[in-house]
């Protein structure tokens, strides 16, 4: 197990190196070069030349790439051109918000998706199944940001059931411990703060959950159908095992392997979806940082987000591979 993890981690390195090369090339191909991009409106020929010297852009390309690598490896992504703050500090502060939102969305998608997909498969071809399948097709086709605004308009503005934006009401006196608003409320036993954070979480999480939910339902349904038709399920049934045993031990366990892969792949979608959802709900997480970076062309921040986003994605997929071994004992890690 440990050797497998180590080997996979080593395999990640060339991918990350290539990615860094890509980002490096990306930075160099910025309009007018990095210097004028970093300086923005303040760019003058003298300043560009000076910054080029400071940034080492007058050095050979290979030297530049090496320096870039060393800098990035030590966690130095430069300072944001918007706030003047170190990018990594900004990201660290925004991260809990996005993790909270993504986790909530993932929980909704998994908790609803697996049973829905399972039930749809059981009633294959009946109205319930057809409705579910059509629903999933539409779910994937709805632009996330439109759904976000729709939810906000109906449930926040018109019905007033949920707050329209933000993570916590201003008048709630919440203590910041971990940065996870709901968790902090629990830790400090400030239940009103927790509840308030939770009510803020509902609409964005639902908006963000739709696409992963639709995907999980479809994969679960297809996978369960596949397993239901297999010989060992027929055998289990004919042995006279109770339906619940067949369901839990034979069908679900075997059907969940492709589903777990899909859940891992959703993390990328969640990250992308968070950019859109956070903008709609003024969430103040990674997505908000990214949207701001795009609007104001904050390249150091963009570059850091791109590299870290890919790193998270790669690591999550490693975790998914590991989870295979737990779900399916037949899978030997090697």
């Amino acid at each position: 197990m440990l050797r497998f993890v180590l080997r996979r981690l080593v395999q990640v390195i060339p991918t990350l190196l290539l990615l860094s090369l890509l980002v490096f090339a990306w930075l160099r191909s910025l309009p007018g070069g990095p210097a004028s991009a970093f300086l923005g409106d303040r760019a003058t020929p003298q300043r560009i030349a000076e910054l080029n010297r400071i940034l080492g852009l007058d050095q050979p390309v290979l030297v530049q790439y090496w320096r870039f690598l060393v800098r990035v490896a030590s966690g130095d992504f430069g300072t944001s051109t918007i706030t003047g703050e170190p990018v990594l500090a900004e990201i660290g502060r925004a991260l809990p918000a996005t993790i909270e939102l993504s986790l909530a969305a993932l929980v909704i998608a998994v908790v609803l998706g697996i049973p829905l997909g399972y039930v749809a498969a059981q009633y294959r071809g009946r109205p319930l199944d057809v409705t579910t399948v059509i629903g999933t097709l539409i779910g994937v086709a709805v632009p996330v940001f439109f759904l976000g605004y729709l939810l906000k308009s109906v449930f926040a503005v018109q019905l007033g059931w949920f707050p329209p934006s933000g993570r916590q009401a201003v008048d709630v006196d919440a203590t910041n411990v971990t940065g996870f608003a709901v968790l902090d409320g629990f830790l400090t036993q400030e239940w009103d703060a927790s509840l308030d954070a939770l009510s803020h979480l509902v609409l964005p999480a639902v908006a963000l959950a739709t696409i992963p939910l639709a995907v999980i339902v479809r994969i679960t349904r297809a996978s369960v159908l596949d397993v239901l038709g297999s010989d060992f399920v027929r055998t289990a049934n004919s042995k006279g095992l109770s339906p619940s045993t067949v369901r839990g031990r034979h069908v679900l366990r075997n059907a969940l392997l492709p589903v777990s892969t899909t859940i891992g792949l959703q993390v990328g979608l969640l990250l992308a979806g968070a950019v859109l959802t956070e903008k709609v709900f003024v969430w103040g997480g990674i997505g908000t940082l990214l949207a701001g970076a795009i609007e104001q062309r904050d390249y150091p921040r963009l570059q850091a987000l791109l590299l870290l986003g890919a790193l998270v994605y790669v690591l999550v997929n490693l975790l998914v591979d590991l989870s295979y071994a737990i779900i399916d004992p037949r899978v030997r890690l090697s």
Binding site: T15, P143, V144, A272, V275, A291, L302, L305, A310, Y313
Partner: protein, 307 residues
């Protein structure tokens, strides 16, 4: 959908009258699939509307009307009235005409982006799959890196490179997202082809290598890629809409395009929701059409589905 005994027998008899090619059999199955028909009808309808848009739309996309503009206030946008079946947009233009004309622009972006991604992906996949060795390793490493970046994030970073956002940058950004997917898919099925009997036969008959690759391997390997392209059309349109929403789309307000219209309409959602609903519905339905078509295509060409 219960299949009667008579239908099943007929299907078997059909199969027994052998000699059907994979393609013709796939089409035969497609014609019986309601989802495929629905998808084809939707896509066909949108293509017709897009092609005839200038004839259907009574007004131009950028044309403003004083009779609409004078009723334009913060908090009020004129609704449907004589000559303007869907009312005004936020700038006093004919909303109906814009929705119709947008079909052209939106499909253009989606189709061009997918096509560019497809062509580049096919070239990379063919080269990797046909040559193998270090070329293959190198190309696949690069596609792996591209795949390691969540797709919208990749599109965003490409689009953000442009000094000023335009339709071209959106198309290129969305196209790049598709490249690694197409390349990987094609390379996989090319590898399977390399070992197959007909390729070995062609090679041993002394057919030139380029001919083996282009005439024997590629046509047999490209099926899954075409299916993926159909599905990618849907995501391309959605990705382009997302880029518009983030302010990375074409900034030209005169251009009618559903993603851009939807993004702009968010501000007026509480004033006149119709401004958001029509473009949103159009995007959802057209994406649904491509998805239905792609999914049924996938099932139709799947050899496991042959019965």
């Amino acid at each position: 959908m219960t299949v009667t005994w008579a239908q099943r027998r007929k299907a078997r008899l059909d199969d027994l009258s052998a000699g059907r090619s994979l393609t013709s059999e796939a089409f035969r199955r497609l014609r019986r699939e309601p989802a495929a028909i629905a998808g084809a009808v939707i896509v066909g309808l949108f293509v017709v509307v897009a092609a005839l848009a200038p004839l259907i739309a009574p007004h131009g996309a950028a044309e403003t009307f004083p009779q609409l503009q004078e009723n334009l206030r913060p908090g009020a946008i004129p609704g449907p009235q004589d000559g303007f079946p869907l009312g005004s947009d936020q700038l006093g233009r004919d909303f109906f005409s814009r929705v119709i004309l947008a079909a052209q622009q939106t499909l253009l972006v989606g189709v061009l982006a997918t096509l560019i991604g497809l062509v580049v992906g096919i070239v990379i996949g063919t080269v990797a799959g046909a040559f193998g060795g270090w070329v293959d390793t190198l190309l696949m490493r690069i596609t792996d890196v591209l795949l390691a970046i969540p797709s919208l994030l990749l599109a965003i970073s490409v689009a953000a490179l442009a000094a000023s956002p335009s339709q071209t940058t959106v198309i290129i950004a969305v196209a790049i997202v598709g490249v690694p997917i197409f390349a990987r898919l094609l390379r996989g099925s090319m590898l399977a082809q390399r070992e197959s009997d007909h390729v070995v036969a062609a090679t041993s008959l002394g057919v030139k290598r380029s001919a083996v690759v282009l005439r024997h391997m590629l046509p047999n390997a490209i099926g899954p890629v075409i299916v993926q392209a159909t599905l990618t059309l849907a995501t391309s349109i959605l990705d382009a809409a997302a880029l518009s929403f983030l302010g990375l789309g074409d900034a030209d307000p005169a251009r009618a395009e559903w993603g851009l219209m939807l993004a702009q309409a968010q501000t007026y959602l509480d004033v006149r929701p119709a401004l958001a609903f029509y473009p949103a519905a159009a995007i959802i339905v057209v994406a649904l059409g491509f998805t239905l078509l792609g999914e049924s295509l996938r099932e139709a060409i799947d050899p496991k589905g042959r019965r």
